[in-house]
Each structure stands twice: as C-alpha cells, then as structure tokens.
C-alpha cells in the first residue's frame, strides 16, 4: 500500500443527484461530511434509511464521483477495494470457487495460485465440499460468506460492507457477524461497514459514525471502548449497554 496518512480521507464531501421528475432542485443525498479512517481501523456507519450511507460507500469504491469536496482512498485509482452488498451478488454462472477467485483472475494471478488461495478461503468460511456448487444452490448465509471471501481474497486495502447481513434472518446474521469478528481480528483489514444494527456496530467496530437523515451528515463519532479481542458475550456488559443507548439516542 502506498504511504498515506489515512486509508480514507474524506473532506467536505457532498453528493447531489439530478432532480427527480417534477422537482426543481437537485437532491442532496449526502454531506457535507468529513472524516478519516486509519489503517486497520474498523469503522461502522449507522443512520436512518436514505441518509446517504450507500452513496458514501459508492463514492469510496469509485463507482460515483463526489459532487463537491475531496475523497482520497490510499492507493488512489489502483487501491484494492473489497465490496460486499446486502445481496451476495455472485455470478450465477461461476461456481463457488470461481466466484471467490474472480478478483485474482482479473488481476492476472496464475490459475493454480488463485485456486489454492480460493480453497483456503473456502475452508475459512466453512464451505468445504461446496467448491463446485452453483450460487443458486446456496442458502443466503452461505452466499454471503462467499461474497465476503471474494472481497477478502485480494487482501483489500479497504473493505466496504453495505449492510452485509441485512438480508439474512436474525440467527444467521448474528452468526455471520461473529464469524466476521473472528476473521477481522486475525487479519485486520481496514473496514467501513454500513449497518442498521447497533449491537453489530458495537461488537465489531472501533468507531461508530452516526448519520443524520437526508442529507446525511455525521451527528456522532463514537469511539467504541470495548477491549479487543472482542467476544460475543460483551453484548451483555454495562459499557456495551451504555454505548448502545447513546447510539440509539443519536439516531433519534
């Protein structure tokens, strides 16, 4: 990774969309917001629906240009960014292993090496035996694990998660969050994760950014003081409860 002060540096970013039919003014979806994400930091983003969280992630992933302000992702246009959406977004014509190795293939990593790494990741996410299964044969939780592995296999400079467990049932969701915690604690990629779950944010992240409703601005930047390594049981501690209350109040 190139030498940068921070992995993500956002200054006075705003995003406007052209006016909807029958409207006069541009639709301001986001900002202005300013924040930075340090290397190996796990930042969670909470906020009401429509507050521009996905929009922010799309800007960081280079999928959408900022309207005003500056956004810098360390490494610039060559930064490796891992993206996981609410839907797994697997390629239905590639099997599990092929989906996971896609980023490596695109980067020209030799087939054998890509396959070896891919199998390692299949083991990490516990899908042994499903290497050659097609995406449509997977449950939602399994598919989302594959999406996570696909994002992480390139060891991204920045991992962007947009409600990665949002489409899953509550139990699967908790379990995948715990798995992500273990995964992250072993690897420490820099992560920006959008979530609607306060407890998920607290359990996983070092810092929680709370967004206001549209246009999204940061109304609270809360450091999570729970010690590392974290365990699921910390959900039931007093500190956790206090912070959860503060976040709930900030979201309004």
């Amino acid at each position: 990774m190139a030498m940068c002060a921070a992995v993500v540096q956002v200054e006075d970013l705003t995003v406007q969309f052209p006016p909807a039919a029958g409207e006069e003014n541009n639709l301001q979806a986001l900002g202005p917001v300013s924040f930075a994400v340090q290397p190996q930091e796990f930042v969670a983003v909470l906020g009401p629906s429509g507050s521009g969280k996905s929009t922010l992630l799309r800007v960081l992933a280079g999928l959408l240009p900022p309207s005003t302000g500056r956004v810098q992702v360390c490494g610039g246009s060559t930064a490796q960014v891992g993206l996981v959406f609410q839907q797994a977004n697997l390629m239905p014509w590639r099997n599990v292993l092929q989906n996971i190795t896609l980023p490596l293939e695109l980067r020209g990593v030799p087939q054998a090496e890509a396959q070896r790494l891919g199998r390692e990741w299949i083991e990490v996410i516990g899908l042994q035996g499903f290497e050659s299964a097609w995406p449509r044969e997977l449950s939602g939780g399994m598919a989302q694990r594959v999406a996570l592995a696909r994002a992480l296999i390139q060891n991204p400079d920045l991992l962007l998660l947009d409600e990665p467990f949002g489409a899953l049932d509550a139990l699967t969701r908790e379990r995948l969050a715990a798995e992500l915690l273990t995964l992250w604690q072993a690897r420490r990629n820099t992560v920006l994760m959008v979530t609607h779950s306060i407890s998920e944010a607290l359990l996983l992240s070092d810092r929680v950014l709370v967004f206001t409703s549209r246009p999204g601005r940061i109304s609270l930047d809360l450091p999570v003081t729970l010690p590392r390594p974290r365990q699921e049981e910390m959900r039931y501690t007093a500190t956790f409860g206090e912070m959860a209350r503060a976040l709930r109040a900030a979201i309004g």
Binding site: L63, N89, G126, R136, E137, S139, M142
Partner: protein, 267 residues
C-alpha cells in the same frame, strides 16, 4: 402395462412417428390419389436409397448446409457486433433503430430475387440471404441479453478495476448468453429457410434447387426426400444449439438445493 407408463416421453416420439407413417401409407393407398400427388412411403424410401447411392442427396445437402452455416455465422457475427454497439451506446440505437425496424417489414422472399440479380446465383447470394434472415432475431436477443446484465455486477467489476475487455469476457458475455442462445436457436432454423428461398430463386445446387427440379419432372417422391432432408437438417442445427445450451447454461439448470450448511445446521 398401464397406458400412462406406456406413453412415457421416451415412447412417445417413435410412436407418433409410426402413427404418422401409417396414416400416410393408408392415405396414399386408399385415397386414390396418384403417386405424383402423394407418393407412398415405400416409393419415397426407394427414391431416398437411389439418391443416396448416386451421391445426389449428399452433394445437394452439403451445398445447402454450407450456405446455412456460413449465413448463420456471418449473420450472427454481424448481429452480435452491432447488438453490442447498440446496447452500449444509446445514441447509436436511436440512430439506427428506425432502419432496423423498417428492414423487418421487408419480406426476405421479396428481396431474395434482387439479391440474386445483384450478386449472381452462386454461393455468396445464398449466404447473404441466410445472414439477413438470421440477423434480426439474434440482434434483438443480443441487445435484450446485454440489457439484462445486473447493474450490481457491473459495480462489482468496476470496483475490481476490470478493463472493458474483462467486463465483456467475465460479465457481459456469460450474462447475455442465455438470451443470446435463444436467438441463435431461432436463427439456426431461419437460416435453413433462407437457404431454400435463395435456391428457389436461382441456383444450380442445394436441396431447394433439388426440389425445384424434381417438381418440374413431377418426381414428387424426390420432393419428399428433399423436404425430409431439410427437416432433418433444421432439427440437427436446432439440436446442436440446444446441446450447447445444455452445456453452457448448466448453472441455470441444476435444481436449487434445499438450504443446508456443511455442518448440518442452518448457517
């Protein structure tokens, strides 16, 4: 044996063929129609044997097959390339679509004579007619297929810094393949029609030419032989595309497995 198990699909095809054949034989025997109107199956079989032996059938079939395949290739190649351009650039679609739609209003049978006048009665005019008739369905299906590429997967490819070529190879082609192959399936049978139309207008070989000649000589049995060969040809081409679909679209076909995690518990 129960009737339902006797009528299993495996039995159904030969059964219906046998019934058809029997009906044909009965009709030609008892209807009093002369052989040059409705030749009996035996006579057609004998004619088939004869034309197979002296190589006539093989020669004409090969000529038609060549036209059909070259036309299919040229037509689908052009349609795919143009379809990609039209799907990618909206302005190009706006610019060309009036012409494309209007061109579909012209029956190919009506302009086939023109094409033969302009390009002569040789191979080229037939290939051109086949290509023209194949062009439109494949063009439409290419465009529809490319429009169906999920936006989320495009985002994924962009976030991975995929080049345009990689996006084409890893995303657009496989995503458009099911619809494209549907177009190719239609195109394959249309191409046979195109070749016959071209040969009717002017040719010195091919199954369409054979039909023309046989008709002139009231050799109706030979017309039947040529028609059956054409049907077989079209079915074979169709079947080939279906086989390709079977292979390339495996991922669509497999039954969805009931959700189950490797550990046996629900993930």
């Amino acid at each position: 044996m129960q009737l339902s198990s006797f009528l299993r699909p495996r039995w159904l095809m030969p059964l219906s063929a046998a019934l058809g054949l029997a009906a044909w034989a009965a009709l030609s025997r008892w209807s009093g129609l002369p052989a040059f109107i409705l030749p009996p199956p035996g006579r057609v079989a004998a004619r088939l044997w004869l034309t197979l032996q002296d190589g006539t059938l093989t020669r004409h079939t090969a000529a038609t097959l060549l036209e059909v395949l070259l036309g299919l290739l040229a037509g689908s190649l052009a349609a795919t390339l143009l379809g990609y351009g039209l799907a990618r650039y909206r302005w190009l679609e706006r610019l060309l679509s009036p012409y494309l739609v209007a061109s579909q209003a012209i029956p190919i049978v009506a302009i086939a004579p023109l094409i033969v006048i302009w390009f002569g009665p040789g191979l080229f005019s037939k290939v051109l007619i086949c290509a023209l008739i194949v062009f439109f369905p494949i063009l439409i299906n290419t465009i529809v297929g490319l429009h169906a590429v999920p936006e989320n997967l495009r985002d994924l490819m962009r976030s991975l810094h995929a080049s345009r070529w990689q996006t084409l190879r890893y995303l657009e082609i496989p995503a458009a393949m099911p619809v494209f192959l549907g177009g190719l399936r239609i195109g394959a049978t249309l191409s046979v029609i195109g070749a016959v139309v071209g040969e009717f207008v002017g040719a010195d070989r091919g199954l369409g030419f054979l039909i023309n000649v046989a008709r002139g000589q009231f050799d109706t049995a030979l017309v039947f032989v040529a028609v059956f060969t054409l049907i077989l040809l079209a079915l074979t081409l169709y079947g080939t595309v279906v086989l390709a679909e079977h292979h390339w679209l495996r991922w669509q076909r497999c039954p969805a497995r009931p959700p189950q995690s490797p550990g046996g518990t629900q993930p």
